[in-house]
């Protein structure tokens, strides 16, 4: 979609925050529940009442170890918590418990595919921290500077948050988007988070700089915040690349700053420049002991890894789906599951894959339902595929039948019969009709015998008409040729 201006190269790194859907918060027993009334999932610890202390949630640590393992990271046996100190009203302690040196996971990688070209993106680190509360700025603008007053909800304060930082290995907005999509798939497959961008359970910040193609020195980077979808991340990065190139090409300099993506205007605007940014005064969190993640723990996680999206795609391809279809199927665990079961039961892979990514998805979209809500089982797919393979249904008729099945009209055979779409594939019956038709048009048969193939089509048409379109046209053609001695 986006094009990097000729002669320039972009260097992009992405920081992703993922909220873990554990039962309780990172450092206290409060429930993690986003639908609650404001300030009801709170306690002395997550409100930072005087004297309260954090205790690390083991389930969250397990979650980050799962993420790190899926991203091919080294899981550090000993890992440290730090305090990141800054004042903000929705940060109750005015420091965030995070990590600095010795994060839980380091040195991972993720492979993304853009237009069939695989790119390896290094993962610098994956670390554990806690989320802040939510500020609701009342008044014009919706930002704290313009707010008349601000309401605070601390239900989210202390929710386990995993930060995933890439190496600056990304070169195009498309790659950035592909990375985000793949990371989202991985996190969802692991079941540690629903990773919804619109709801903020997965959030991306992109660091972007540009340089002349062929040079290796890094340019000044900006950090883009407030991208709420994969598409807006892609657009924001593309805009930012173009903006920086324009600035540099005009002889200007890029200012190191944080920029806010505005979805409506399609532009990024400066939020605050890094010169006046805070010194976070990191120091080791004295209220928590170093985390110890021993080999047994690491091995237990490794052994419990589900099939990851890349592995699933590879398997779908091996089963006969093409790359694109495999990607589409892998995006939906339900579709992939149906495909898997149907193919394992003997259905032809390409046919099933095309139905699932075509008719099924389209139908679901049309009626506004999720795939899970449709009346479709793997057994249906197997039966339908067998009817096509057996000549009982044409490819077109099969799609009509599938729609009926999806609508809950019954099983494939039942629907096909009700729609009167079954083909006559009994060769005896077809032979009888062919014999009648040939008898009516002896000259046509003669022409065929003398080497003119044209009348075959005419005869097939006659047979189809005589059978009301239900004869298997391939079989009809075969029988006509046989009758002509070909």
């Amino acid at each position: 979609m986006s094009v990097i201006p000729e002669g320039w190269e972009a260097v992009i790194g992405i920081e992703t925050h993922v909220e873990l859907q554990t039962r309780s918060k990172m450092f206290c027993g409060c429930r993690v529940d986003f639908g609650d009334e404001p300030n009801t999932a709170v306690c002395p610890v997550c409100l930072a009442l005087p004297g309260a202390l954090p205790v690390a949630n083991e389930a969250a640590i397990d979650g980050i170890v799962r993420i790190g393992t899926a991203l091919d990271c080294t899981i550090n046996e000993r890992s440290l918590f730090y305090r990141k100190n800054y004042f903000y009203p929705d940060l109750p302690k005015n420091y965030q418990i995070s990590q600095y040196t010795y994060p839980v996971c380091e040195h991972g990688r993720i492979v993304v595919d853009v237009d069939g070209e695989p790119t390896v993106i290094g993962i610098t680190r994956v670390h554990m921290e806690e989320d802040t509360g939510k500020s609701l700025h009342m008044g014009e603008g919706g930002r704290i500077q313009d707010a008349d007053h601000t309401l605070l909800d601390f239900n989210r304060a202390g929710v386990p948050l995993v930060e995933i930082v890439t190496e600056p290995d990304i070169r195009t907005p498309d790659q950035a988007r592909a990375y985000g999509a793949e990371l989202q798939r991985i996190v969802r497959t692991l079941g540690v988070s629903d990773a919804r961008l619109e709801e903020g359970s997965m959030r991306f910040d992109a660091n972007v700089s540009v340089r002349r193609a062929g040079t290796s020195e890094l340019g000044t980077r900006t950090e883009i915040k407030n991208v709420n979808s994969l598409r807006s991340m892609q657009r924001a990065i593309a805009f930012e690349i173009e903006r920086q190139v324009e600035v540099l090409a005009a002889g200007g300099t890029v200012v190191q700053e944080t920029r806010h993506w505005n979805e409506a205007t399609g532009r990024t605007t400066a939020m605050r420049s890094k010169e006046e940014s805070e010194d976070y005064r990191y120091f080791q969190e004295p209220d928590l002991l170093p985390l110890s993640i021993d080999e047994r723990w690491r091995n237990r996680v490794k052994a419990s890894m589900p099939e990851l999206p890349a592995q699933l795609r590879a398997r779908l391809v091996a089963a006969g789906a093409d790359e694109r279809t495999a990607g589409l199927l892998a995006d939906s665990p339900l579709l992939a599951g149906l495909f898997d079961a149907a193919v394992r039961a003997g259905a032809e892979a390409r046919t099933v894959a095309s139905w699932l990514t075509g008719e099924v998805v389209a139908y679901a979209r049309r009626v506004g339902a999720s795939v899970g809500e449709l009346h479709l089982t793997a057994e249906h797919l197997v039966e339908l595929a067998a009817m096509v393979a057996g000549g009982e249904l044409s490819a077109t008729a099969a799609k009509q039948v599938l729609t009926g099945v999806l609508a809950g009209e019954g099983g494939p055979r039942q629907v096909a019969e009700a729609m009167d779409l079954l083909q006559i594939s009994d060769s005896g019956a077809i032979e009888a009709v062919v014999a009648d038709v040939v008898a009516d048009h002896p000259d046509a048969l003669e022409k065929i015998r003398s080497g003119d193939a044209k009348p075959i089509g005419f005869l097939v048409g006659q047979v189809m008409r005589a059978t009301g379109g239900k004869a298997d046209p391939k079989m009809v053609q075969e029988i006509i040729r046989r009758s002509a001695g070909l």
């Binding site: 002395p44 409100l47 930072a48 009442l49 005087p50 004297g51 309260a52 202390l53 954090p54 205790v55 690390a56 305090r83 100190n85 004042f87 009203p89 109750p92 302690k93 005015n94 420091y95 704290i144 601000t150 605070l152 010194d279 005064r281 990191y282 120091f283 004295p286 209220d287 928590l288 002991l289």
Partner: protein, 493 residues
């Protein structure tokens, strides 16, 4: 007849169980005492008359019904006001927490209640436990019951004054650099800082998290052991609390010191220590030797740097710990045009000068470019201190020294000289840096009639041996003096 308020915990417990008096009568004696002494001392910020009355009544009912919660059952105790108490205002002697009433009890407080103790009130302290004289309280200083012109030490000065004056049988304090032991020394009490992690810090308003420990101030070693035993032990709310078994702290109090190897820290026995304090320390050591202990001189070179390291580490942690007091959720709020302004004004008006000094010091010590030279270097010194202690404990069972370089100083005497004030903790700070237990025991009075404390330090979880030696120090010193103000007779100011 002895005033009930002056009984030891053991004697009070015996009387309660023998039916000589009730917990409510013990409490009444405590109120009578407080009515006299508080006018002179200002040991308490809050007296929880209603809560205490209910606890005492319940203690009596339970005893009558045959439920005995142990040595503290029905005993009036005080709690330093940096410990969170459900429903009772907890200000840490700071304006910034004026009016703050916690919804929860600190674990140590909860354990006191579970042990049947009657919590009479919250004692004064240096604001957020930062100080060595209890002069840095936003609500006015506490005075020493031995001489009301003098400080009771700090920061647990309110607890010390209350127990020394008899308006509580014992009290909880907190000790970050000597804040239990130094006031105990200055008021003729036993004050113990346990091994780091032995008592849960949950609900202790943090000053310096890696150094803070809660412990008892009491009128005797056995009383201190009873209180500490009630509050010690693992707590799921404090990740740094010790998960193993609690040492049997009172088991060897009568065992004597025959064959015990006692190290005298040479660096703490010379320059900067008042001659009378040195003399009292030396004669205590002689008595220990006479009781059969083996006395060894031990050099701890890192002690010289411990004070400086402490005054980087503690402020650094405090600068972060006190960030939560911002006017957003509780306590004082001073309005401003923007939220930043509100926070800044609240903090500028809510914190006293010593707290602000330490926050600035700590913020600076953690700043980019200064971290290595200050905080990083201080952590290295801390490691050296630990090593010195570890090496020493290969040769000896306990280490001893004076607790405080001087006896109680006059109110105002050191207020304008922070460095002189910081020096009050020179003997006590090393144990905090090492995370080791230490106890102060009164051994003598100086020429002006002020108590002198003697410090016994032990390796981590070495509380049994520490209290064994402390009990011998107590017996051999025969310190039976009481503060002049420990009386329920009306005293003219």
């Amino acid at each position: 007849m002895t005033d009930l308020a002056d009984l030891s915990i053991a004697d009070a417990g015996r009387g309660l169980r023998d039916g000589e008096f009730t917990a409510q009568e013990l409490l009444d004696a405590t109120w009578r005492r407080a009515a006299v002494t508080e006018a002179h001392l200002h040991a308490y910020l809050v007296l929880d008359r209603e809560g205490a009355r209910r606890s005492a009544a319940r203690a009596d009912e339970e005893l009558a019904a045959g439920t005995d919660r142990g040595p503290l059952h029905g005993i009036p105790v005080a709690v330093k006001d940096n410990l969170s108490t459900r429903g009772v205002e907890t200000t840490c002697a700071s304006q910034i927490l004026a009016g703050y009433t916690p919804p929860y009890d600190a674990t140590a407080v909860e354990r006191l209640r579970d042990a049947g103790a009657v919590i009479v009130g919250k004692t004064n302290l240096d604001e957020f436990a930062m100080g060595s004289s209890t002069e840095n309280s936003a609500y006015g200083p506490t005075r020493n019951p031995w001489d009301t012109d003098r400080v009771p030490g700090g920061s647990s000065g309110g607890s010390a004054a209350a127990v020394a004056a008899g308006s509580a049988f014992a009290a909880l304090g907190s000790d970050t650099g000597g804040s239990i032991r130094q006031p105990a020394a200055l008021t003729g009490l036993v004050g113990a800082k346990p091994t780091y992690g032995l008592v849960s810090r949950y609900g202790l308003v943090a000053f310096a998290s890696s150094l803070d420990q809660i412990g008892p101030l009491a009128r005797s070693v056995p009383d201190a052991v009873d209180v500490l035993s009630a509050i010690a032990g693992w707590d799921r709310h404090d990740a740094t609390s010790y998960p193993g078994d609690v040492p049997e702290m009172g088991r060897s109090l009568d065992a004597g010191v025959q064959g015990v190897r006692i190290g005298v820290v040479t660096e703490l026995m010379g320059e900067g220590i008042a001659p009378e304090v040195l003399a009292a320390t030396a004669s205590t050591i002689e008595r220990l030797a006479a009781a059969g202990a083996e006395i060894v001189d031990v050099s701890m070179p890192s002690t010289e740097y411990a004070l400086s390291a402490y005054y980087l580490i503690a402020p650094a942690e405090c600068s972060s710990n006190l960030a939560r007091f911002d006017g957003v959720r509780y306590g004082l709020r001073v309005d401003g045009g923007t939220v930043e302004e509100m926070m800044a004004r609240t903090r500028a008006e809510g914190f006293g000068p010593e707290v602000i000094r330490r926050i600035l010091l700590g913020t600076y010590a953690l700043s980019a470019g200064y971290y290595d030279a200050f905080y990083g270097q201080a952590q290295k010194v801390r490691t050296l201190v630990r090593r010195d202690f570890a090496a020493a404990y290969e040769q000896v069972d306990v280490l001893v020294s004076p607790t405080s370089p001087t006896t109680a100083f006059r109110i105002g005497e050191r207020s304008d000289d922070p460095i002189a004030m910081y020096y009050s903790d020179v003997c006590t700070i090393p144990s905090n840096l090492a995370g080791d237990p230490a106890v102060s025991v009164p051994v003598a009075l100086d020429g002006t009639g002020l108590p002198i404390g003697f410090q016994v330090m032990a390796p981590q979880l070495g509380e049994e041996m520490m209290f064994r030696v402390a009990a011998e120090v107590e017996r051999s010193a025969g310190f039976s003096f009481r503060a002049p103000l420990a009386t329920s007779e009306v005293v003219e100011p």
